[in-house]
């Protein structure tokens, strides 16, 4: 019973945060759209649609927030047992992608593959290393050589 209550509270908090973010976004769009001409010489201007969209967004997010007060209990939680794993992968993506300008696509995506396989799949170091090597060669051959996509090659020159 306590766990259900906690889950419900957590989900409600997440939905509440989502609703408030949307409300703030709607208000922000409204104010920024005021800088754009609402009408032009011939008809509606560039600010016409954004202004109406912002008002609709504000209205709908208020409806979501009001709806939260009346919502029935749901046995759902925002954070799941494996959410941490997802965040870990996001972290690996961000850390590796920061090195894209320096190391280039082939090397960074190979490193990402090796690290993810090790962290998520608990594969052996040898398998992770070999797969990473395969990925680097594959990216170079498929994307750079065959499809002639000008991916940044970084200091490694690959």
């Amino acid at each position: 019973m306590g766990a259900v209550f906690l889950k419900e509270k957590e989900m409600r908090l997440a939905e509440l945060t989502g609703g408030i973010v949307l409300l703030l976004l709607g208000v922000a769009i409204f104010f920024f759209s005021l800088e754009l001409p609402y009408m032009s010489e011939y008809g509606p201007g560039p600010g016409f649609l954004p202004r109406w969209l912002s008002l609709a967004l504000v209205g709908c997010s208020v409806a979501v927030l009001v709806g939260l007060l009346r919502k029935q209990k749901k046995d759902e939680s925002f954070l799941k047992p494996r959410t941490r794993e997802g965040v870990k992968v996001l972290g690996l993506i961000i850390i590796n992608f920061l090195f894209l300008p320096v190391l280039g696509f082939s090397v960074v995506l190979a490193l990402f593959t090796g690290m993810t396989m090790r962290a998520m799949g608990r594969h052996s170091w040898v398998l992770c290393g070999l797969t990473a090597l395969g990925v680097a060669i594959g990216i170079h051959l498929i994307f750079i050589q065959w499809l002639t996509i000008p991916l940044p090659e970084g200091i490694v020159g690959w």
């Binding site: 032009s40 409806a63 998520m120």
Partner: protein, 508 residues
């Protein structure tokens, strides 16, 4: 006669070795994508799209069409064998397909799905051949008011088909429309919401958003909630694939009905293949003299939804080709592809690019035949693919998404945008905000806004322009009814009960 001439021209294009190869590759890849839980047709097409810049558009679109209907075939295998739908369009197949497998009739379930898909798919191509050119001819009369009405109706229908909380569907649509306004305004040349960032002057590229919101977000969602099922261990020989006489009699009309439902749901904007399979299953259950058999291994429960999802995946091309309005996320991604290749789908496509249109339509006959053969002979291979560890698949998706996002404008800013939209898609899914309306609104946003502004300019600012023209009035009324759907349903329920209770906000 024209039809036959066009079809002849189409086959002369689609039967060239290179196009057969692309069709085969598309069907094979689609089948794999369908088998693998956690990656869907829009994701697959979005990830491959940037890599096809240099391809001939006809070949590329033949391959993407192969992926689209290949996915509908592939998802069946996991639905039947492990009770996990590889695709949302095969959810209904799980109900009876898995039960049939438990009773030792997995082969029959897979066979009826393949045969049903093939019959309905072929039937749907024939109808598409007749219907799409007529629709294109009709749409030549459309002006800005009609196009705005059509776009508004498509958004409205999403609230009908889009899930339990229409208010969240509407919010998702608004977000998509807002994202479409970012960048230079094409009418006045004024930059909107770009905040001095030069990369935003051209607006968000659709492919970058798609790679993030479908590709990367799907990775996070699949890590969090892996779809795992217990594979049924059953030896399947060629003989097990044959249907008994009773099974064929029970399923033949279900296939026909499923095909008809699928075709018509597919051509409705926002209809989609999942809705088609759902309606076909419910219809079949309602028509059955023994509805209690459904959910316990009724073969009609496999035949009808499978026929419907395949028919819908083919008829879904009618609004895309004839009107330039995508009916589903996958066709929305394909619309982005058309734009990337400099082709504008719509009524004039049939006149300006007949080779592409008829090459694509005729390729569907070939693709369906390829899939029929693949599903008879290659099922063990596709079952083996299920054993690929998800970590490897996940890395593959991230690699394709990163390369795809970079390829659009050759800059790293887009890669970071892709990551940002991946996180947005993940959070939206967790909070039960549907992604599809955002995507459709994003792709149709410019068309909707320009049509709205042009119509208002032509009418000197009078909104009655949308209601005085019969076709646009029809679309507008349909849109209004769709948006009022939750309120109308509540009123109807209240009327039936005698005393109404206030509607829970957002409840469908």
């Amino acid at each position: 006669m024209d039809l036959l001439n066009n079809l002849y021209m189409g086959f002369s294009i689609s039967l060239t070795p290179i196009n057969i190869l692309y069709c085969l590759a598309g069907c094979f890849f689609g089948q794999i994508v369908g088998v693998l839980p956690g990656i869907g047709a829009p994701t697959a097409v979005a990830l491959l799209l940037p890599l096809t810049f240099s391809l001939n558009p006809t070949s590329a679109i033949i391959m993407f069409a192969g992926i689209y209907y290949g996915v509908a075939y592939g998802g069946t295998i996991t639905s039947v064998l492990i009770n996990v739908p590889g695709e949302s369009s095969t959810v209904m197949t799980c109900l009876d397909g898995y039960q049939m497998a438990l009773k030792g009739r997995a082969g029959a379930a897979l066979s009826v799905a393949v045969i049903g898909s093939w019959i309905a798919g072929t039937f749907s191509v024939v109808l598409l051949m007749c219907f799409a050119p007529a629709l294109a001819k009709f749409a030549l009369n459309f002006g800005p008011a009609e196009y705005f009405g059509l776009a508004l109706m498509s958004f409205g229908l999403l609230t009908v088909f889009g899930g339990d909380e229409p208010i969240k569907t509407i919010i998702s649509t608004i977000l998509g429309l807002f994202l479409a306004t970012i960048g230079l305004d094409v009418v006045s040349g004024v930059p909107r919401f770009s905040f001095g960032i030069p990369q935003l002057l051209g607006g968000f590229d659709f492919i970058v958003i798609i790679c993030g919101i479908f590709g990367l977000a799907e990775v996070f969602n699949s890590i969090e909630e892996p779809e795992e099922g217990q594979m049924i261990k059953q030896k399947m020989g060629l003989r097990d694939l044959f249907l008994t006489r009773a099974e064929w009699i029970a399923s033949r009309w279900a296939i026909v009905r499923g095909g008809i439902i699928g075709f018509f749901v597919g051509i409705v904007p926002a209809g989609g293949i999942t809705t088609a399979s759902f309606l076909a299953y419910l219809g079949e259950k309602r028509l059955s003299r023994h509805p209690e058999r459904f959910g316990n291994g009724a073969i009609e429960g496999v035949a009808a939804p499978e026929a419907a999802n395949n028919a819908a995946s083919i008829s879904g091309f009618a609004p895309l080709l004839a009107l330039g309005i995508p009916g589903s996320p996958t066709t929305a991604v394909m619309l982005a592809g058309f734009m990337m290749w400099g082709i504008r789908p719509g009524p004039l496509l049939f006149q300006n690019n007949p080779d592409l249109v008829w090459g694509l339509i005729s390729s569907k006959f070939i693709g369906n035949f390829i899939l029929l053969l693949m599903n008879i002979f290659l099922i063990p291979l596709f079952v083996m693919i299920l054993r690929v560890p998800y970590t490897i698949l996940m890395c593959f998706i991230v690699i394709c998404a990163a390369v795809g996002a970079y390829t659009v404008n050759n800059n790293l800013f887009d890669v970071w945008m892709m990551v940002g939209f991946g996180v947005l898609g993940y959070v939206m899914k967790k909070l039960k905000y549907p992604i599809v309306p955002l995507v459709l609104a994003l792709v149709l946003g410019r068309l909707a806004e320009n049509s709205l502004r042009q119509a208002l300019i032509l009418s000197a600012g009078s909104v009655w322009v949308f209601f005085t023209k019969p076709i646009s009035a029809l679309f507008m009324v349909a849109a209004i009814l769709a948006y009022l759907n939750p309120v109308l349903r509540w009123l109807w329920k209240g009327l039936l009960r005698g005393v109404g209770t206030p509607p829970e906000l957002g409840a469908n």
